[in-house]
């Protein structure tokens, strides 16, 4: 469901379309800025079927505006390049056939300079269009906002896909040197309690949200407690040293199969050096593990096994959202370690700006929930190709909440539902306990 909030508030000043134009420019620029340290070679390779080349992200996000905005808004629209409809369609069957996902890394053409030219041309056409808002149907304004949110999702994927690519290289090249905050301590883990009852969760009202965040609806929750902060690297090391990766009793059956088939012995990107010390590959290169930072790059299987080992469990997404709403009521606004901080790694919990006992709910690491990704009661995808955006992926995936250190701040909401299969590890994914 694409919300009509933009249209609803078109009378205010600066006008919503002016805001949208500014936001269009800012989001599109952020993708370009991400690429500044990259060479053309970095942008063309696909390191695994789940990841895409940077070049593809840049073109696909552009294709989105061309397909869903320009070609609908402009009569007899002439595409920049007719071949791109096929090459850069990700998974919209109703738009047409797609170049196979696993083969995205086999294309050296269009080259990076052609892709940049494609972006510039579409940006020019979009700017022309947004300059004449009176000619633009209201529902297309919503699609522009959707396209920007879509591009922000891909900005996060550009970070994670690039990290995976660089990690394949035995030279362990850094994306940006960076300086990571390495607090020598973190706050003690406390349990924050919530009462049983019927709660409302899900998005409603003004402000953008993806269709999968609604409808807002009631759920019954038993009383529960949520940990005050995510599990840290040091705590996860205890699990490893207790034989966590060798003892099937902590694992889901599928998880144990994966551990054995893949030979997992630690989170993704952890390396044990010759002297037994742990290092971690980051976007700033190989670095010593930061003990008090939230543990990251865990699969659902590892998050769940850790929780079982520690005598706790994962929260459901409803529990998480109820807690987050409570926090937000006190904090007043979104805050956390997002991509804008430049850390590009989760950092230890700091003295909270907010007096609420829950810390780091937003930013740092996506938090696995126990909830399978499923439609909310009454959910229906929008008609047409954009209905393929979310709904058709509601199978064999688990919901993550809260955003990470590579999520844009303006992209985060407490109703936001991210989702990945339970064996995925290349996102910035961690764990907060419940009981």
């Amino acid at each position: 469901m694409i919300h009509s909030h933009v249209a609803n508030s078109r009378a205010s000043a600066p006008s919503p379309t002016e805001e949208l134009r500014a936001r269009y420019a800012a989001v599109r620029q952020a993708s370009a800025s991400f690429c500044t340290p990259l060479t053309d070679e970095d942008c063309v390779i696909q390191s695994m079927p789940d990841a895409s080349p940077i070049r593809w992200h840049l073109a696909h996000t552009t294709w989105f505006f061309e397909t869903f905005v320009l070609s609908r808004a402009i009569e007899n629209y002439q595409p920049v390049n007719a071949a791109f409809e096929y090459l850069f369609n990700s998974y919209y069957n109703q738009v047409g056939r797609q170049f196979p996902r696993a083969r995205r890394g086999l294309l050296s053409r269009p080259t990076m300079s052609e892709v940049w030219r494609y972006r510039r041309e579409v940006d020019y056409r979009m700017e022309q269009l947004l300059a004449r808002p009176e000619e633009l149907p209201e529902e297309l304004l919503s699609v522009v906002e959707l396209g920007l949110q879509h591009e922000q999702q891909h900005q996060e994927l550009m970070h994670t896909d690039l990290k995976h690519l660089l990690a394949c290289n035995p030279l362990y090249p850094a994306y940006r040197p960076g300086t990571q905050e390495t607090h020598s301590s973190t706050s003690a883990l406390e349990w924050v309690a919530f009462d049983e009852g019927v709660y409302h969760i899900g998005h409603e009202g003004l402000g953008f949200a993806f269709d999968n965040e609604g409808p807002r609806h009631r759920v019954w929750l038993n009383a529960f407690e949520l940990a005050s902060r995510p599990v840290t690297n040091a705590e996860f090391l205890d699990f490893i040293e207790a034989g966590g990766y060798r003892r099937p009793e902590f694992w889901l059956s599928l998880g144990w199969q994966t551990v054995q088939a893949e030979g997992w012995q630690a989170p993704l990107y952890w390396l044990c050096d010759a002297s037994g010390g742990w290092q971690e590959f980051t976007l700033a290169g190989l670095r010593p593990l930061v003990p008090h930072a939230p543990v990251c790059h865990l699969s659902y299987f590892e998050a769940d096994a850790y929780a079982r080992w520690s005598g706790a469990r994962l929260p459901t997404e409803a529990e998480w959202e109820v807690a987050a709403a409570d926090w937000l009521a006190e904090a007043g606004a979104i805050s956390g370690n997002f991509v804008e901080s430049g850390q590009l790694q989760p950092t230890p919990a700091k003295d909270a700006k907010c007096s609420h006992r829950l810390q780091q709910l937003l930013g740092d690491v996506w938090e696995w929930t126990a909830s399978s990704y499923a439609p909310y009661p009454g959910y229906a995808p929008p008609p047409g190709a954009l209905g393929e955006y979310n709904g058709k992926f509601m199978c064999n995936q688990y919901v993550l909440r809260g955003g990470s250190c590579v999520t844009p701040e303006s992209h985060v909401r407490i109703t936001y539902r991210n989702f990945f299969p339970p064996d995925a590890r290349w996102q910035f994914t961690g764990v907060r306990l419940a009981r």
Copy 2:
């Protein structure tokens, strides 16, 4: 959680242990009776990694009693054959290593006659044990009941695994000739409405239930409607003829991938003959499709795609159970087309014995729900190896409700949670719509 109902009512007449002895004899005999029409060759082959040889089912269910009852009840217990602990352990890591599941079909020894001897010897020892109930700890009586429920589960699997094996054979041999009821009509599909509210679901109190059926707990449900009967073959044919298997817009993304990779064009076991007529492989051999019987051998993907095509959806397991409780209150007792009917295929809905508008909730076909298989709030597996029975499979599977035409009647409950991965088709699985 293994319930102590047997112990709780030990004072009544006939005594609970007498009842248990009788039930032990009956259930064990049912496994043997199943094999009457089979040759030794039929019993040894594994047709796919998900299925097991009949020989293995017979031995594994026996191993269960030896491992979890006899060796715990008898001091210095001498196993019938020490090698069987390894060979017939299915997945209990805490009992020890397991012979790999996918290789169960590589064993020609122990032969069938040795397996029968193994069963007789364990039955003798169990009878001796059950004849002295005063020496038997109460918790072991519960494990005996668990072992019988376990054997009933495997009796259902023996039907489905045998059907899969026979279907691999181009001669399409019949298990039993059988005579199938082929009503020329079925009842019209109606919608039965339920109100919104907080409901209780899950098992509680006396009577056996698996640990995954509890704890009983509250859920919030929006108002919903449930179809009065399952979807029929004739209705599913409409979906096929409308291009259902060729149109991605009806499918989950994973489902569409599976359709293409596997070349699915109809439910499992359907064959289109040269003249375009449909036949179905049954345990009675190849037969013309019965139009008004419930459609069967659907994956979750197919059930979900059919529902979407028809403008409806799958029910959640909570909705299903609330409806079933309503039905049971009126019907008074479990009834339906179970294995005891000898049909071994779902049959068209008949004039209901019960005035409730819901029909065929129990028996005929397992009904896919939209619910991912997950622990109920407060669920904890029992300690020890038996804790591996259910909990560790709660990932990437979907819940099915209601039992099928090859489920033993005494094994069915309205709180029963069956579960399979979304691409599984070799069980007797169908679909009832909700909206």
Copy 3:
């Protein structure tokens, strides 16, 4: 090419057809005798795609007579069972479609008793036919002989496929208890020299041979030396202890890939027990390795790596045959450790009956040669389906010579060309060095 020797000598006494009738009875009986110790369960399982169930061997060899003799000799021939043409066709595209090789183990029907009935019926029809030789075209007599040779090939495969199946079973069941000769010594390895020159190799003249053994033709050979006997287990242990399986410098590139992918550390069927001693699985069960017996169950890769490590090489098939012809001229007749000895394992070299310095050329183990399996100059397969017998397999396989301890004696010739892919290990395959 199927030779017409039977026809050529039809005037002698006992008549060739009488001899053929007796031979038919003897060869068919040998297949049945092989099965005496087996249960029906042993006969139905396929342990890997390269192996076939015993049941299939028994039926396929019978199908061969029905397809290539009975249905050609008898007008309006009525097959015993029309379905068998499809089920038991191995690879003859010109006869029709084939049930997939890798799925032969999925058939429980026809049962063993039906297969025995099939054999009896075809034997009866064959005996009727052979009783009226005057009605039988001469070329069909040759096909009868081909069918018997074919069945003898399958008798060898029944031994090797059964051994593979039993070895999959952690109980290590024995086929026959057996008593193996375990000489405490073997003869010293000597080198036997041959001069350079143009030699003739290949089959010519009377007596059966497969088409791939001809035409007889000239080859140029440089001077060479051949080892007096095959490499022994003790010698091969030296290679293992010298790190042979861990040092890539001895291996073909494909061989080294296979060693790593498969984790090979010793020949197939060798087991290192807890105390570091070596045992070997045989058709008589697990037994201590016999140091002076020829090493067995080597792939071409292992044979070649051993040869390179020892400073020698594998012989070409021309070298082997020239040496064997020299030996046969002195020995006068075929002799060796064949299936009739009942050993069913290679045995240490004994005092030779023959004064020739070459020992164990025939029997004990098939000897890998350096020769890729290729057509001899002027080779053309016979027309029709029987042309598919040999020629189409002449790719990516290597020639083996000399027969093994499970080859029937009457099946062995010095021109005989056996062939397997270079990674095959489940045949009784060993190595004789050349230089």
Copy 4:
């Protein structure tokens, strides 16, 4: 075996080392020239495990000189970059571990500009070294020549790997526009006869050759005939139209399996357009098929099936070389359509400059022979890591002769043995018939 021809002729003028310096400069420059039309994106992608990125070819050939010349010639040699020893080692186990072949396409660093810098630095060091020949051991001069021949091999692979990469792109980009000669006719196919007898084949004497081309040795050949020119596209179309790809009787068993598994219906890079006309992807882009040009991009399986369909066979490599020696005696020097012609596609046979009836033996397409790639009698690889150059690949590959339209002219010899697995199609491989 690396021949000492350079050393043997060191007294002539210009001095051999002067010649070698000039040749070093020319060959190294040719690799750079190849890259002129390429972008960095083109150079980094690996299109399949058998192919390598252009970037890798450029670095690996440089690594060869650094590893086998510079580090041996210079005491305490400091490598340009220590990591490159691992990254750019192809398969020399004796040099050390190798970065996995199938993952070469996962490296975006070192970037192309770093690779060019690496080449310049090694070229500088090599020039310094070659400028002081008196300090250079003679055997290292041979290794320099080996390195140049090695780089020429990779120049051919750069063409074939790039062609494969560009063909993965639905835009079908051209490497160089090019103008292909499209003769409207070709010469009639004639048969050229050779007598039976003992012949010598293999390399001997002065001039570079790879170790696998020797020792020169005798072979016996029966009388044979060789086709005067390769099979053309038009002739191969007849095979397709006769159902060649649908009729198993023409195919080796492995070939038929491959045809079915891969869905082959025509040579690699042929496309059938909507109107049934054939196009071919070339390094100049998609173009109409040239009927009279030699058919190209055939696997051994297709070459062999065509030969069988046409009633002929493939020549052995000995037959081919005997014929080529006869041709060379008359022609006097190597000539043909090599990479220097700039065609980069095989072209129709032209009026021969030479009166010999055999045409196009050299250049245009590599010609599959019936000969499995095996060591010549007496062959031994040189000691050390360079012994891994050829010998360890002598298994499951077939010999090709004559060079192609992307082979450098100075790299071709009539004794040259190229080799590929029988299913390889991405080289410029065709077929000349024999009988």
